[in-house]
């Protein structure tokens, strides 16, 4: 996945922006957990912490193309993707009402790296798992929109869909290593999706309700 230095640098910057955006959302969601003790917000916090860590690790891994002295190991790439996949898992299952199902799947995800697979196979599997988790999140969010008819929920579904397409393009970039632009395209799509997911945080910051009304 060797990119030209300019593209690699743009990708790296985008990864760190992803880290910042993810942690900003996680921070607001965590404040919500403290105030309301909501398990949904706890899952949302966990999701964005993992996503943020995933972006950070992938950003540091990508630095080796900008600073060649840094060693790039396949396991570091796998670790970044794994963190991101866990983030998508929690994001998808923030919606899950049946907690038992998510617990079982969570356990399956935890034992997943124990299975002896090559680094490349792991990267492939993590990418496609991320795609399915995001796809599930999109379906659940669209379902939620059908129930509430809130435009911002539809916007979040669009953001998740962009992230989903981004993870699919990421998987394609692993199959077609000679097409450099796929790697950059996937991070741009994920980044736009993530920025859309950031909009409720902006709304939260400017909203004023002095009388406590909805």
């Amino acid at each position: 996945m060797a990119l030209p230095t300019g593209m690699a640098m743009i990708e790296d910057v985008l990864q760190f922006i992803g880290f910042f955006v993810s942690f900003s959302i996680a921070y607001v969601a965590y404040r919500g957990v403290r105030q309301t003790h909501s398990s949904s917000l706890l899952r949302l916090t966990t999701a964005f912490i993992f996503l943020g860590l995933g972006f950070a690790v992938e950003g540091f891994v990508g630095l080796d193309q900008v600073i060649p002295a840094l060693p790039l190991t396949t396991m570091a790439v796998v670790a970044g993707l794994f963190l991101e996949t866990v983030g998508y898992f929690f994001l998808a299952f923030s919606h899950a009402i049946d907690v038992m199902i998510s617990k079982k799947m969570g356990a399956a995800l935890l034992i997943f790296p124990v299975i002896s697979l090559s680094g490349t196979q792991l990267i492939d599997i993590l990418s496609i798992l991320s795609f399915y988790f995001v796809l599930y999140g999109v379906v659940e969010t669209v379902y939620s929109y059908a129930r509430t008819r809130r435009p911002d929920t539809l916007l979040i579904a669009v953001g998740l869909a962009l992230i989903g397409i981004g993870t699919f393009v990421q998987w394609l970039s692993l199959l077609y290593l000679n097409v450099d632009v796929l790697s950059l395209l996937q991070i741009i799509m994920k980044e736009i999706g993530l920025l859309i997911l950031f909009t409720p945080v902006l709304g939260f910051a400017v909203r004023v309700r002095p009388d406590g009304t909805v």
Binding site: G32, S38, S40, L41, T148, G212
Partner: protein
């Protein structure tokens, strides 16, 4: 937490005459047993979210400034969660 928000919003919205809301009204909106509601009300009064107005026979309840602030924050996070298609 949802129950607390429901009780507080009932105490705020149904207090049209300014002399508080009775337990019967809170029970109707809260949909819970009398003993559970009594326990919850004493906890809310203890934490300063509700004010107890003692009458001759029955007590009435009014939301406090702290309670209004709590509801405001609760609804903000409810709105935040709903943006992501989630329920608190």
């Amino acid at each position: 937490m949802r129950i607390i928000a429901d009780v507080l919003s009932t105490a705020r919205n149904m207090n049209t005459e300014g002399n508080g809301v009775g337990v019967t009204m809170l029970l109707r909106k809260g949909n819970m047993s009398y003993s559970r509601m009594s326990k919850l009300l004493s906890e809310l009064v203890g934490s300063g979210l509700l004010l107890e107005l003692s009458g001759e026979k029955i007590s009435k309840y009014m939301i406090s400034a702290k309670g209004i602030q709590f509801l405001s924050v609760y609804y903000q996070f409810e709105d935040f969660a709903q943006s992501y298609g989630l329920r608190l």
